[in-house]
């Protein structure tokens, strides 16, 4: 693709936000966005995992899967690499910030099955990005996810003491808010097309 890698980076954050435009990575987004601090922690962890797994998956795809003609294994191989990398991230977090480790709890290993992570790697394959584009796409998607979860956490904190009907509490209202944010982001569509 002739798109400038930096354009892809900016687009991944704003106009093609992996969460608000493609609606990928919703489950931990909805659960952890109750507190701003843990949202920041999880968002940074997802950014870290996205950037490195996209890069590694690119290398594995182009230097192992394609030459050996086993492209059909890409789903399994990508997931294994993501799982291993998330394990590594857990070890790093446990070592350097035990408080964050306890706060995130089960959501840290759940990053493995966050569809945004696998989604970004598969997009990278489908859209045939080169290495630099892939890395910046991964990094941009990570920052976009981080921004979205921080935004939702902030809004939820603001709405906490307002009256909410029982049926809409927690997930109900969060989904409506996410939908409204996504509507806002549709305003960006058409500015840059990176599909």
């Amino acid at each position: 693709m002739e798109l400038n890698a930096f354009i892809i980076f900016i687009a991944a954050i704003f106009t093609s936000n992996i969460l608000l435009t493609n609606f990928l990575g919703m489950c931990s987004f909805l659960s952890v966005s109750r507190e701003v601090e843990s949202s920041l922690g999880l968002g940074l962890a997802v950014f870290f995992v996205l950037t490195f797994t996209t890069a590694i998956n690119y290398l594995v795809y182009h230097f192992i899967l394609i030459p050996l003609n086993i492209i059909f294994l890409q789903y399994i191989i990508f997931i294994i690499i993501i799982a291993a990398f998330v394990q590594l991230t857990e070890m790093v977090i446990e070592r350097f910030s035990p408080v964050l480790y306890y706060t995130l709890g089960i959501f840290l290993p759940l990053i493995t099955v966050n569809c945004a992570i696998l989604g970004v790697s598969l997009f990278m394959v489908i859209r045939q990005y080169d290495f630099l584009q892939s890395v910046l796409f991964g990094a941009g998607s990570g920052i976009g996810w981080l921004l979205a979860i921080l935004a939702l956490a902030g809004i939820r904190q603001r709405v906490r003491y307002n009256f909410v009907p029982i049926g809409l509490q927690r997930a109900g209202l969060s989904l409506i808010i996410t939908g409204l944010m996504a509507l806002g982001f549709i305003g960006f569509s058409g500015i840059v097309v990176i599909q």
Binding site: I64, L68, I80, L88, M91, R95, Y102
Partner: protein, 367 residues
């Protein structure tokens, strides 16, 4: 076709293998905290391999902090003062620490992971706590729901404790329990016998440890316990002593009275034992004997709900109303209480109403 399947599996395994290998290296790098030093009370230094909890590392070095939940972060017994090197306060510790304790840097030893050199302060008598292996020499039925165990020490073969302290007795996994549990029981034998201890244990309905003792433990079985623990012991003064106990609470009192008898103490002692009906009483004659053997000892059993068949001619009702009769000089009286929380609360109230100073009322905190 077949070749490509084999080929695929090989590549797949190779990639997984490489990843697993990289993770193992990462684990060694990150989870390896190297050698750390635990400085205790500025007197003792332990060189340990970092990465485990403070409680486990101390236990490995034969220093046993009290723990009722086995390090799961549920009981809060393993509090200790961490002067430096403990890392940030974890959310799992906060429920157990009040603001003063947090200011003094009290932490839960089972929740702190030792990753660097750490400096702690623990009470001196923790050094006396050891893990013991013993053999059940005798099991005696004292009442329908109370048994007395005699445990002969095997390794170490002697124990040094103060009359009134307790041990954490370990019930191993058995038919009705999937894992080992430990429960606190006061030592009922005198500290002068240091090659064995006796415990008085009352059956708790549905209790894991007491069900083991009552239905599965036999003479000759080997058991483990850790101890001695507790700040319930005799204060060495000349004040009058008032002992109040109920149920299995007689255990530490028996230890104390036997200890005082050996030293022929001439302190004025009154022992009030509360029970519901006659069949809850035990060791009645044994304590009545002390009235003759000690210079100034009075034994007062009190039944709160005697029935016709009890044929009880002694005191009836609850213990606090009898205090004015037996307390001569409240300001010079020390009270030693052991029993259920309800009894202790009511007795403390009664003692304060009779003028006994609150700091001279002692009781076991694990009740």
């Amino acid at each position: 076709m077949l070749i490509s399947i084999v080929y695929t599996i090989l590549i797949f395994s190779a990639i997984s293998g490489i990843l697993a290998f990289l993770l193992v290296i990462a684990d060694l790098l990150f989870a390896n905290y190297g050698e750390c030093t635990i400085n205790i009370n500025n007197k003792k230094e332990l060189k340990v391999k970092g990465g485990s909890s403070l409680l486990d590392l101390l236990n490995e070095n034969k220093i046993y902090l009290a723990s009722a939940c086995g390090g799961r972060g549920s009981c809060g017994f393993c509090k200790c003062n961490v002067i430096s090197g403990g890392g940030p306060l974890l959310p799992t510790e906060k429920p157990f620490l009040n603001p003063e304790e947090t200011k003094e840097n009290m932490r839960l030893a089972c929740q702190i992971k030792v990753k660097e050199d750490i400096k702690i302060k623990i009470p001196e008598d923790i050094f006396n706590v050891k893990k013991y292996k013993a053999e059940v020499k005798e099991i005696v039925d004292l009442t329908y729901d109370i048994k007395e165990l005699t445990l002969k020490l095997i390794e170490p073969d002697s124990i040094d404790f103060k009359a009134g302290q307790y041990v954490q007795f370990v019930a191993p996994p058995y038919e009705k329990s999937k894992q080992a549990v430990s429960r606190a029981y006061s030592i009922s034998s005198s500290p002068d016998n240091n090659d064995h201890i006796q415990l008085i244990i009352r059956l708790v309905p549905d209790g894991i440890c007491t069900t083991y003792v009552f239905e599965y433990l036999k003479v000759g079985d080997k058991v483990d316990f850790t101890g001695p623990f507790g700040d319930f012991f005799i204060r060495d003064t000349k004040a009058d002593m008032l002992f109040v106990a109920g149920g299995s609470g007689k255990a530490p009192i028996k230890s104390m009275v036997e200890y005082l008898f050996k030293r022929n103490s001439n302190r004025r002692m009154v022992y009030m034992f509360g029970a519901r009906v006659r069949k809850d009483l035990y060791y009645v004659d044994y304590f009545k004997e002390f009235e003759k053997k000690l210079p100034d000892f009075t034994f007062v059993p009190v039944l709160s709900q005697p029935t016709e068949e009890c044929e009880w001619k002694g005191k009836c009702g609850y213990i606090p109303p009898f205090f004015p009769e037996y307390i001569k000089d409240p300001s010079k009286t020390e009270a030693y209480l052991c029993g259920s929380p309800g009894m202790i609360a009511a007795v403390v109230k009664g003692l304060k109403e009779n003028g006994v100073p609150e700091d001279k009322i002692y009781y076991d905190s694990f009740a």
